[in-house]
């Protein structure tokens, strides 16, 4: 009865409680699809995989609770650690040359050349090509004895490289595929960044007598830093998920010396080829930890004072 003692608000007529609760129903309904779908296809699998990681399960029979057994195996599993190493190596080997090349292409596209639109589309095409089709083509390109790449090398008297059998050549081959796929995408992003740069700074540099190379390193590169950072973060996200290139090129087991065994491929192999779903789920959570560490690293990098404003 406390409400009665309070003076009623003069303008708003009091709304009965029940009606008030349902008042926003249409709005809630409107946003519900996302939450329903997320709960069913996002949240539930995530929680279930955590439950699964504590079981031994072949996918058909009864599950057997093994506690942290799968995780115990995971931390002592040499292949898992190798797969983390492989993923990082391939990521570094693809990202560094890719960024440099993409910058070069972006600067090229930015300058006044003919058929600009055609080039932009052409550079972006690899990104929307089916990876499976691409990997089959690359399989032929990298073929040791009959591949076009080694034939090309042969023209210059270079010995054939066993692209798909030598552990390091495998990593290079996968990196080249990733580079091919993402260089155009990043070039377009860099191009957008370049077009947004203020022209007055360039005019000032020209007045001061700076050449194109000097301008690039002293003005363009520092100003592009936020865009560069974005591209590195994006490539880290895709780099930690390298899977298809390895799988199509080398099969489920990562090739000789398991050189092409990436984290996600190892997860796939255990869960969906060996049907060891409990261990597969444990690997997935192992990957999660690696990704979180990476995210923290990225975050720390961005949070560094003056990082984004650098160069100004």
């Amino acid at each position: 009865m406390a409400t009665l003692t309070r003076p009623a608000t003069p303008v708003l007529t009091p709304v009965p409680r029940r009606r008030k609760r349902w008042r926003y129903l249409p709005q809630y309904l409107a946003v519900a699809p996302f939450f329903v779908l997320f709960a069913v296809f996002g949240l539930y699998p995530v929680l279930y995989s955590l439950f699964l990681a504590l079981q031994r399960w072949d996918g058909v029979g009864p599950m057997k609770f093994v506690g942290l057994g799968n995780f115990e195996f995971l931390v002592t599993d040499p292949v898992f650690w190798d797969s983390i190493g492989n993923t990082l190596i391939i990521w570094v080997m693809s990202t560094i040359p890719m960024t440099a090349l993409a910058l070069l292409i972006a600067v090229g596209l930015h300058s006044s050349i003919r058929f600009k639109g055609v080039f932009r589309v052409a550079y972006f095409l690899p990104n929307v090509t089916s990876i499976v089709a691409m990997s089959l083509v690359f399989g032929s390109i990298f073929s040791s004895e009959f591949g076009i790449l080694n034939w090309f090398f042969g023209l210059f008297g270079i010995d054939p490289v066993p692209w798909l059998t030598d552990p390091w050549a495998i990593r290079v081959a996968i990196s080249i595929m990733i580079l091919w796929r993402w260089v155009g995408y990043n070039a377009i992003i860099f191009l957008a960044g370049l077009q947004a740069l203020p022209s007055d700074v360039y005019e000032a540099a020209r007045v001061d007598g700076a050449g194109p190379v000097r301008t690039f390193f002293r003005i363009t590169l520092p100003l592009l830093r936020p865009v560069l950072l974005f591209s590195v973060v994006m490539s880290a996200i895709s780099g930690l998920q390298i899977f298809t290139e390895s799988q199509i090129l080398l099969g489920n087991r990562g090739g000789p010396d398991e050189a092409g065994m990436t984290m996600v491929l190892y997860f796939y192999n255990n869960a969906f080829v060996n049907n060891d779903f409990g261990y597969g789920a444990a690997i997935a959570w192992g990957i999660f930890v690696v990704v979180v560490l990476f995210a923290i690293l990225n975050w720390r990098l961005i949070q560094r004072p003056g990082f984004l404003k650098a160069g100004r």
Partner: protein, 427 residues
């Protein structure tokens, strides 16, 4: 009706409500209730024979559905959800992984499978039988191993080249390696063995004992495993193996296909199912190949089964479909159309299969392959055999292609098998 905010929200609300009520309904147990759904992989059954079965069992509503590639994944998902299940499903040569869960399937003995048992190769029939006698699988096909070789190049080098002569010259693996070394001197730069994995796999295929004894007792460092390992190493050290990348993965064995075409692969031991791939990727070599008994004797690699799930409402009709599809009368057609090697010895004598084959220079390869098929020794397969075999062949590949020390590779292979079996709760 114009789209107002009110009508849109009403429609959206109704949609969500409909979703909710649909979810509360039970999903059907079988994929097509009232029909007999049959799951098989592409090329796993002969399409013509399946089409005939559809005509014949139209009244039963036979509904064949080709599942590409991921049949096992789909089956596991359907089994664990107990929904959208097939009535009849194909199972691969990993059928032993289902024995512990035979409760999901129908025992074919209940429909009189024992009466036709004698029409099929005993070792193959046994491979589809669980240790407790539960008849899970009905045999589709097998993969008897043989030595495929280039008749023209063997003859050119002045070596035995007729199938009987070659078979007599290479009765054992050691004799084959010796033969290979001498032949390579005449024809340098060519290979007689695909890779170490082939030697290991087909050597193990010839053994009557694999990795486990009946009752799932792990045999540990069994002599047959060491023997197969050492043979593979000998072949590698003698420079007989080509070591193509991914030569065992269909679709990625580009190097091997090229070697077939260029004549660099002089010979190889393989199960009979390779012939389709050989004909397709090296059509220009037609007439130059011959087949003879594999060094080391008869072995089998691969082969599938049909099984009926427990959820099938009319298992007796399903069994009739299976029996007809895989009957000794239909097997020759399946072999001719899809290369599915017969599991019924009666089919071996079918005149259509004994006809001379132009691709093999007029040789009737069935006589060689049928002989091997009959000689295969029955063996006990555990659910973990494929994983164990992979551990050993991975390490052999590391020796062959990545220059790993063989002793280290052997230790690593054993360690990874031990880890696998411990994790699975076997050790």
């Amino acid at each position: 009706m114009t789209l107002t905010r009110r009508s849109f929200l009403t429609a959206a609300g109704l949609g969500v409500a409909a979703l909710g009520s649909a979810a509360s309904c039970t999903s059907p147990t079988t994929a097509n209730p009232g029909k007999l759904t049959l799951w098989y992989t592409s090329g796993g059954l002969a399409d013509q024979v399946v089409a005939d079965a559809q005509q014949r069992f139209g009244a039963d509503g036979l509904y064949p559905s080709q599942v590409s590639g991921q049949l096992k994944q789909r089956l596991l998902a359907a089994l664990s959800g107990e929904a959208y299940l097939p009535d009849i499903t194909m199972l691969g040569d990993d059928i032993a992984t289902y024995f512990a869960d035979s409760a999901h399937f129908a025992d074919l003995r209940n429909f009189g499978a024992d009466t036709v048992k004698d029409h099929y190769l005993p070792w193959k029939w046994q491979a589809g039988t669980a240790p407790d006698g539960f008849q899970l699988g009905f045999p589709i096909d097998i993969g008897p191993a043989a030595l495929y070789y280039r008749h023209d190049l063997f003859a050119q080098a002045g070596f035995p080249s007729e199938p009987d002569d070659v078979a007599a010259a290479v009765p054992t693996w050691d004799a084959y390696f010796d033969f290979g070394r001498r032949l390579q001197e005449k024809l340098p730069g060519r290979h007689l063995i695909t890779d170490t994995k082939t030697v290991y796999t087909y050597s193990m295929a010839q053994e009557p004992q694999k990795y486990f004894a009946p009752g799932n007792a792990y045999l540990g460092d069994a002599p047959q495993v060491r023997r197969a390992w050492d043979r593979a190493l000998t072949a590698f050290r003698s420079g007989l193996t080509a070591g193509y990348a991914g030569s065992q993965d269909p679709g990625t064995s580009i190097e091997r296909h090229a070697a077939w075409n260029s004549g660099k692969e002089l010979s190889f031991v393989n199960a009979s199912w390779i012939v389709g791939e050989l004909k397709k990727s090296a059509p220009d070599t037609a007439g130059k190949w011959r087949v003879c008994r594999s060094p080391g004797g008869a072995g089998n690699q691969g082969g599938s089964f049909l099984a009926i799930t427990k959820y099938c409402p009319r298992p007796d009709r399903a069994y009739e479909v299976v029996r007809w599809l895989l009957s000794p009368e239909n097997q020759p057609r399946s072999y001719l159309e899809a290369g599915l090697f017969p599991t019924s010895p009666a089919a071996f004598d079918d005149p259509r299969l004994l006809a001379p084959e132009p691709f093999f220079g007029g040789q009737a390869t069935m006589s060689v392959l049928a002989h091997a098929a009959r000689e295969v020794k029955p063996a006990y397969f555990s659910p973990w055999d494929i994983g164990i075999s992979d551990a050993f062949t991975d390490e052999l590949t590391n020796v062959e292609l990545a220059g790993k020390d063989p002793g280290q590779a052997w230790d690593d292979a054993r360690r990874s098998v031990e880890r696998l079996l411990t994790r699975q709760g076997v050790l």
